[in-house]
């Protein structure tokens, strides 16, 4: 779908000219494409490939930095459902670990990493905090219509309906039973993504759309075990969003070559000779649209609010850490306040970016936040709209589309105060990326 608002402030005449050009280009580029059922990624329909861009874990069980009583523990609950009421489905999932480590990690068969960090200030003198990018996968089978849920910190050793699991068991033959183990997130603390693809018994992606899911990030005060009295006042926050789904083109014939990528829209330019689409899915959004309150705003519902934005590339090479870890997309942001005044900024998304809005143009931490174009003091209005699109930076064979979710934090008193409540929501989107994006899966032995 080509929309009028893809013109970024053009006049009416140029809107028409641009529309004509884009429409004709779109037609020409799509002349040989297969039809798809949704015109870009969607978080409100079941899909064949689903992404949870924001998974956060920091619990009392962390081997390196356990949360102590009185501290705030965080975990993410993931709900997945097979919407196929008639048949079981197989699902391959990947944790994408975007933790940063002091001094980074070594490569090679035995991988060692420094301690987990947020900024270089967390590291010993002489070591910098380096963002990583590692994947860890698991495979499961869900019975017809089966809903499951698990926390990222714990995973699930055996699924309900697994013949070895406790419980009443499920109808159907042994081949129809659930199976597999859901690995826990690879580190604690953890920050990153979860991606799941509907596959067949040979792990090849299938042209079907039966996965839906939600993620809920829950934080709560760690209370000491009785008889120690509870630490009061405690806080609990919860923020939920829907997994972002890419609907598979059900008329497409998969190549079933595991080295071929999942194509989002089409195969991006620059792919190696002989590479084709293993499976075709709906394309990445052209523009992400975030409605937000400016950081530091005191809204009518109370508290002082700031917004965290998570951006991740649509394209990834899940089996090639180096290729994906060095993959950088430049995100261009247009910001409008309630006076219709426009500002712009840009930000690098190096495989994964989770940031407060004010830190996009002022650097990490509270220093300088009052001077950010995302600050309520600078903008002068409570609400704003930010339009985000990836503009460049993809290596050959990968596209530069972006996905994201947003999370609002409501603080007591000021932005330095404790977080009293939190909420998350899916970003809106406009148009789709004609150039296509690619997700190369890990080739399993």
């Amino acid at each position: 779908m080509v929309t009028l608002n893809a013109t970024w402030g053009a006049g009416r005449g140029s809107v028409l000219r641009l529309l004509a050009a884009v429409a004709l280009l779109g037609w020409a580029a799509n002349a040989g494409a297969q039809p798809i059922t949704a015109d870009s990624a969607s978080s409100d329909l079941p899909a064949g490939y689903i992404v949870f861009p924001k998974i956060v874990v920091h619990t009392t069980g962390s081997p390196t930095a356990p949360v102590l009583p009185g501290g705030i523990a965080t975990d993410t609950l993931i709900q997945l459902t097979n919407t196929n009421e008639a048949a079981p489905i197989n699902v391959d999932c990947w944790w994408v670990n975007a933790n940063s480590h002091c001094g980074g990690c070594t490569t090679g068969p035995i991988r060692t990493c420094g301690s987990i960090c947020t900024t270089t200030l967390d590291c010993p003198l002489g070591l910098s905090c380096v963002q990583g990018w590692v994947t860890d996968d698991f495979q499961i089978r869900l019975t017809p219509g089966q809903p499951i849920a698990f926390t990222a910190s714990s995973g699930l050793n055996r699924l309900p309906c697994d013949p070895g699991a406790q419980g009443p068991g499920c109808p159907g033959s042994p081949a129809d039973q659930a199976m597999g183990t859901i690995r826990s997130a690879p580190e604690d603390p953890f920050m990153g993504e979860l991606k799941c693809v509907e596959v067949d018994d040979d792990d090849d992606p299938v042209p079907a759309n039966h996965i839906k899911g939600e993620a809920t990030i829950v934080s709560t005060t760690v209370q000491p075990a009785p008889p120690v009295p509870p630490i009061l006042p405690g806080t609990t926050t919860a923020a939920a969003y829907n997994g972002i789904g890419f609907q598979a083109d059900q008329t497409f014939t998969p190549t079933q070559d595991p080295t071929d990528p999942l194509c989002l829209g089409s195969l991006p330019p620059g792919a190696a000779a002989g590479v084709a689409c293993n499976q075709l899915y709906a394309p990445c959004p052209g523009v992400l649209i975030l409605n937000h309150f400016f950081d530091g705003a005191a809204t009518e519902i109370g508290g002082v609010v700031d917004t965290e934005l998570v951006l991740a590339p649509c394209s990834e090479d899940l089996g090639n850490i180096t290729r994906s870890g060095n993959f950088q997309v430049l995100a261009q942001l247009l910001i409008y306040n309630e006076f219709e005044q426009r500002f712009s900024s840009s930000s690098r998304v190096t495989c994964y970016r989770s940031t407060r809005l004010s830190d996009i143009d002022t650097g990490p931490g509270p220093t300088g936040d009052a001077f950010s174009i995302f600050s309520v003091g600078v903008q002068g209005t409570i609400a704003g709209q930010t339009r985000i699109r990836g503009v460049q930076g993809a290596p050959n064979g990968l596209g530069y589309g972006l996905l994201g979710v947003a999370c609002e934090n409501y603080h007591a008193g000021s932005l330095a105060g404790p977080i009293l409540s939190r909420t998350a929501f899916n970003l809106h989107q406009d148009g789709f990326r004609q150039e296509g994006d690619a997700v190369y899966l890990e080739v399993l032995p």
């Binding site: 779908m1 009028l4 053009a10 028409l16 004509a20 429409a23 004709l24 779109g26 037609w27 799509n30 494409a33 039809p35 949704a38 969607s42 409100d44 079941p46 619990t59 009392t60 219509g145 089966q146 809903p147 499951i148 849920a149 309900p160 309906c161 009443p168 068991g169 899911g213 709560t220 760690v222 209370q223 630490i231 006042p233 405690g234 806080t235 609990t236 926050t237 919860a238 939920a240 969003y241 829907n242 649209i289 809204t299 508290g303 309630e338 002068g380 409570i382 609400a383 704003g384 409501y410 007591a412 404790p418 009293l420 409540s421 939190r422 929501f425 899916n426 809106h428 989107q429 406009d430």
Partner: protein, 364 residues
């Protein structure tokens, strides 16, 4: 025809041809959506028991006019009062705006609400529980089909550390996209200028055949809190409105729904004849659901459900889920999610799209 006009007409024709061909080849699907700009926005849960902040944005570079309707579904004497209050907004290009439903928003450049005031937004009455519908219109009042609007609702209240009611949840407005020429799978036509918005995949997208709900069993332990802050509990509030409105004759929309359930062991269950009368908001432990979705009835921590019309002729519903997470120390928060749409017509899902309409008040 002048040369300039001729060139312009030719250019527009070129655009239309290009757009039609593009739509046909990529299969553009104007539909009910929670993430794409639309012509109609529905905010199913708007309350003044705590406050609700509405955010609406014009995502285009053209000025748009919007006609909004608060519908009060407050229960008085066992029936919704179905009171409607309407107002108009004007949004300049790309303009975001917001207001609190408790306070409304005046047109006063000197008040504390900075930014271009979009129009006079009245406050709702104390105790208001209902929904908000906003329709993009032409300056003269007829419906437009430009799909320019997006919106969010933020429900809750934040006071001080340790206070019991620090709850904020947010969901995206449900958008109904106008089909446009060749849209909605190919059969779309431009929006006509009458006061009836036909949800039929010709003028506007047809209603989804059902809703998909993932839920935690009512009153079960919150597994994400678990032993960290025991004992915890989780409770889900489900808000539903009928897919279709008669704002001209003030006829409260009413429909019956069936919820087919599965627990984690694939065991089926169902709740039949759920009446959605104007505005429906119940916890999953409500007696209406017959204990089917509580931890005692479901017998697993999580379940899924498909909400569909109970019989042919009944319209489907639209809705959001708002989940309360409460920890052992008494602290709690809520988290809202938009429900997924079910459009799979094949059995056993059987989610067939349904035609309906939104009837606006006639223009004088």
């Amino acid at each position: 025809m002048s040369t300039v006009k001729g060139l312009r007409a030719g250019r527009i024709a070129l655009v239309l041809i290009g757009m039609t061909l593009t739509a046909a080849t990529v299969g553009a699907e104007e539909r009910f959506t929670t993430e794409r700009p639309s012509t109609v926005l529905l905010f199913p849960k708007v309350v003044n028991t705590s406050d609700t902040i509405i955010q609406i944005t014009n995502t285009t570079n053209l000025l748009v006019n919007v006609h909004c309707f608060y519908v009060n579904g407050q229960d008085v004497g066992g029936a919704p009062i179905w009171q409607i209050t309407d107002f108009d907004l004007v949004l300049t290009r790309q303009q975001p705006t917001h207001w609190s439903v408790r306070n409304g928003r005046g047109v006063n450049p000197n008040d504390s609400e900075t930014g271009l005031d979009p129009g006079l937004v009245p406050p709702v009455v104390p105790g208001f529980t209902g929904f908000l519908a906003c329709v993009e219109v032409m300056p003269s009042g007829e419906p437009s089909g430009a799909n320019s609007l997006k919106g969010e609702a933020t429900i809750g209240e934040v006071t001080t550390l340790g206070a019991p009611g620090n709850h904020v949840s947010k969901y995206n407005a449900i958008g109904i996209q106008a089909c446009g020429q060749g849209g909605c799978g190919g059969g779309g036509q431009p929006v006509n200028d009458d006061n009836i918005l036909e949800l039929n995949n010709v003028e506007f997208a047809a209603c989804p055949g059902g809703l998909l709900l993932n839920f935690a069993a009512e009153n079960s332990e919150d597994v994400a809190i678990g032993p960290t802050n025991p004992p915890s509990v989780v409770s889900t509030n489900l808000t539903l409105i009928p897919c279709g409105l008669d704002l001209e004759n003030l006829v409260p929309a009413s429909t019956l729904q069936t919820i087919n359930l599965r627990n984690e062991f694939e065991s089926p269950g169902s709740v039949s004849q759920v009446p959605v009368d104007c505005w429906f908001s119940r916890d999953l432990g409500d007696p209406l659901f017959g204990n089917e979705m509580t931890i005692g009835g479901l017998q697993t921590f999580f379940g899924s459900g498909i909400i569909r019309p109970a019989a042919p002729g009944q319209v489907p519903v639209l809705g959001v889920a708002n989940v309360l997470h409460m920890a052992g120390d008494g602290s709690s928060d809520t988290a809202a999610t938009n429900l997924h749409f079910c459009n799979e017509p094949l059995a056993p899902s059987g989610c067939n799209q349904v035609n309906s309409e939104i009837r606006l008040p006639s223009l004088p």
